[in-house]
Assembly symmetry: C2
Homo-oligomer: 351 residues x 2
DNA sequence: ATGTCTCACTGTACCGGTATAGACGCGCTG
DNA sequence: CAGCGCGTCTATACCGGTACAGTGAGACAT
C-alpha cells in the first residue's frame, strides 16, 4: 500500500478487484445490484486502499444534485449569529433538512472580487433570510433559477415566502401598554447603518420587518387616538444613544415599544442607568420572545414568534420545490403571541 | 427565447455565437484569453439565454476544488447556535474564509440512514468544533484525507488544533474567589447527556474542555489547601436541579465557579430564587466572557476567551493546509483573561 | 429441448466544465 | 523575406462519477 499511487478512484478499485468500474459504483451506491460476496470483496479492497467512497463532487455532477441548500444573509455572519433569532432559525432549518440529505451552506452577500458565493457555490436551493432587496446576491440566485424561499423578507412574485405576522405582533405590543393606561409611548426601531435619531412617520423603513412592525405599532397608537415619537438605532451597535434622546422629551414617555428583545434589554439598561425603575417608572416591550427576554431582570414583556416553526416551514417549502411539483408560490404567515413579563405595568401617574 | 430548450450550458452559447466551448469558458473564467469584443458578444448572448455562469458543480469537478469548508458540530445545530460562543466562532471563521473564496457548510454528526454529511458533501477541508471523539463523522473526514483543524478538541496526532487555555482560565477563576477569602467553593460543570448530580474527582470528564477546566479549578483549590464538591448539569437543559443540590450542603458554598456564563447566569437566578443575594451571600464566576456575562444583572465575573481570534486562527491553519505547504501539525493555544464583574465579592462572614 | 425470467455484471454515453498544447494569422525584427 | 513572438481561438483529453441499456448464464416452467 505505497503512498506513491495517485488518487484512488472507482477505477483503481475496479482494476484491483478485476470488475468493471460500474460494479464498484454499485457496491457503494446501489447494493442491491450485485451479489453480497462481491460487494464485500470490493468494500474490503476499498478499505485497504483507503478509499472513502465516491467523490461527492463527481457524484453531484452525475446525479445533478449538490446535496446542500444555501442560506443567504445580508449581514456578515458575525452579526447573523449574534442574533438569537437568526441563529435559532438556522438551527431549525438545518435540523429539518438533515433527514432529507441536505447540508446547509452559509452564503454572504460580501462579494470578493472574483468569488461570489451566491453564484459560485454548488446548491440545490436557497433560503433568503431577512436580506435587503438590493443585495446583488439575490439576483444571482434568481438567475441560477434555483428554488428559492424568502424568509422575513418582502415576498417576491412567483416565489415562496415565510413571514411572521409582524404587524399584528406590533399591534399587540402597543395595545398591551395602551391597555395598561399609557398615553405617552415611544417607539424604538432599528435600521441598517442608520444613525441614532428621531424618524418621522410616515417613515421610509428599509426593511419589511421594520416596516410592518412600525405599521402595527401605529395601528394601535393611532387607533387609540394617540401619537408617538420614533427613535431609530443603528442595527448593529449600542442603541443607548438613541434611547437617551427619549429622556429629553416632555412629556417623557412612560412606555417604549421596541423592535427586538435586544433593543428592549438595552432600553431597560439605559433607563436603569438614568435612574428610572422598570416597570414602575417606565414600561418596556420587546419583540421576538427570546431567552434574553425570559432571563432578563426584570423579564421582558414581548411578542413571541416561533423560530423553529419558521425553520420548519421554510424547509417544507424547499422540499416541495425541489421535488418538483411545480405549484403556485405559497406564502406562509406564522402567528405571534403576546407574552407578558415584568417589564410592563400601569404608568406612574396611575399608581 | 423560448423556454422549451433544455439546460443552457457553455455549449449552447458556443453554438449560438459560433465559437468553441472553450472560448465561452474563457469568457467567464479567464477574460485575458480572448478579445474584449468577442467576450462582450459572448456575455451578451449568455445574458440573453439566461445563463448565470459556469455550473459550480462541474467547475468544482474540473478544478478539483469544492469551494466550501465544513464545520462539524457534535450537537444538533439548534444547540450549536443557541450557544453564543459557538455561534460567534462560526461567524468569525466564515468572515475570515470569505475573502479566500470559500463558503461554510454546516455538518452534523446526525447520520440519516443513507446520508452522512461528513462523507457525502463536497468539501475542501473541515473544522471540527468541540466534537466528541467518538463521533463517526470525524472518521469519515479523516478517511477522506481532508485538511482538518480540531478546535476546542483534544488535539490529534498529525493534525492542526486550536484551543484556548482552559486550564489556566479555570485556575484564574478559582484563584479570584479564593483571593477574596472564600473557603467553601463549589464547582458547576456540564456534561453531554448527564444527569444532575454530584461527581467525584478525579472525574471522568467527557470532553477536553470540561476536563481541562476541572483540572484548572482544582489546581487552584487544592493549591490553597481546600477542596470542593462538583455538581454536574446536563449540557442542554436547565442546570437548576444541579444547582439546588448545593443549597443542601453544610457548610453551604459561598462561591460557585461555573463551566460557562450560561451556567453562571442560571446559578445566579437559582440563588436569587432561593433567597440569596449575589454577590453578598454568594459569589459566582462564569466562563467565556460572553455578552450575557456583561449584560447580566449583576454582571458576571468571568474568564474571557477571544472567540473571533479562535475563528481567525482556525481559518489561518486551514489556509495553510489547503495551499499545500505540508508542514508539521501546529497547535495553537489562545490566552484567556479574568474579567471581574459584580457577581463576586468577599464571603459573607468577612463582611 | 425450448422459451422466458431473473440475477449479476458490463459498455457506453453522458453530467458540464477546465487544462494544456497546439494552430493560425499578423506585425516586427534582422 | 525568412524567422519569431504574440494574441486569439480551437481540439483533445480529462475530472470521477452515474444512468441505462444491454449481455450472458443459470433457473424454471412448458
Amino acid at each position: 500500500m505505497m503512498e506513491a499511487m495517485g488518487r484512488v478512484t472507482l477505477q483503481t478499485i475496479a482494476d484491483e478487484v478485476g470488475v468493471s468500474r460500474m460494479t464498484v459504483s454499485n457496491a457503494f451506491s446501489r447494493p442491491d445490484q450485485l451479489s453480497a460476496d462481491l460487494r464485500a470483496t470490493i468494500l474490503a479492497k476499498a478499505a485497504e486502499l483507503g478509499y472513502a467512497g465516491p467523490d461527492p463532487t463527481a457524484r453531484s455532477l452525475a446525479r445533478g444534485r449538490a446535496g446542500s441548500v444555501g442560506i443567504l444573509f445580508t449581514d456578515t455572519f458575525s452579526y447573523a449569529f449574534e442574533d438569537e433569532v437568526a441563529a435559532g432559525f438556522v438551527g431549525a432549518i438545518a435540523a429539518e433538512l438533515a433527514p432529507t440529505g441536505s447540508a446547509i451552506t452559509l452564503l454572504t452577500s460580501d462579494t470578493t472580487a472574483d468569488f461570489v458565493p451566491a453564484r459560485d457555490v454548488a446548491l440545490d436551493a436557497a433560503v433568503l433570510y431577512a436580506c435587503n432587496d438590493d443585495s446583488g446576491a439575490i439576483d444571482w440566485l434568481v438567475r441560477r433559477r434555483l428554488p428559492l424561499v424568502f424568509v422575513d423578507h418582502r415576498p417576491r412574485p412567483g416565489y415562496d415566502s415565510v413571514n411572521i405576522d409582524d404587524r399584528e405582533g406590533a399591534r399587540l405590543a402597543a395595545d398591551h401598554v395602551i391597555g395598561l393606561g399609557h398615553e405617552h409611548l415611544a417607539v424604538l426601531t432599528t435600521a441598517h447603518g442608520a444613525e441614532a435619531g428621531f424618524v418621522s412617520a410616515p417613515f421610509a423603513a428599509t426593511h419589511v420587518v421594520s416596516e410592518q412592525r412600525l405599521l402595527g405599532w401605529f395601528d394601535a397608537i393611532h387607533g387609540a387616538g394617540l401619537d408617538a415619537p420614533v427613535v431609530q438605532a443603528p442595527k448593529h451597535g449600542d442603541p443607548a444613544d438613541a434611547i437617551a434622546l427619549l429622556w429629553e422629551l416632555d412629556p417623557r414617555p412612560t412606555a417604549i415599544v421596541c423592535f427586538s428583545d435586544v433593543a428592549a434589554a438595552a432600553a431597560i439598561r439605559a433607563a436603569t442607568e438614568y435612574g428610572l425603575v422598570v416597570p414602575d417608572d417606565l414600561s418596556v416591550v420587546g419583540f421576538d420572545g427570546t431567552q434574553l427576554a425570559a432571563w432578563s431582570q426584570p423579564s421582558i414583556t414581548t411578542i413571541r414568534q416561533d423560530v423553529a416553526a419558521k425553520g420548519r416551514a421554510a424547509a417544507t417549502l424547499l422540499g416541495e420545490r425541489m421535488t418538483g411539483s411545480t405549484k403556485r408560490a405559497r406564502r406562509i404567515v406564522l402567528p405571534v403571541e403576546l407574552v407578558v413579563g415584568d417589564s410592563t405595568a400601569p404608568p406612574p401617574t396611575q399608581r
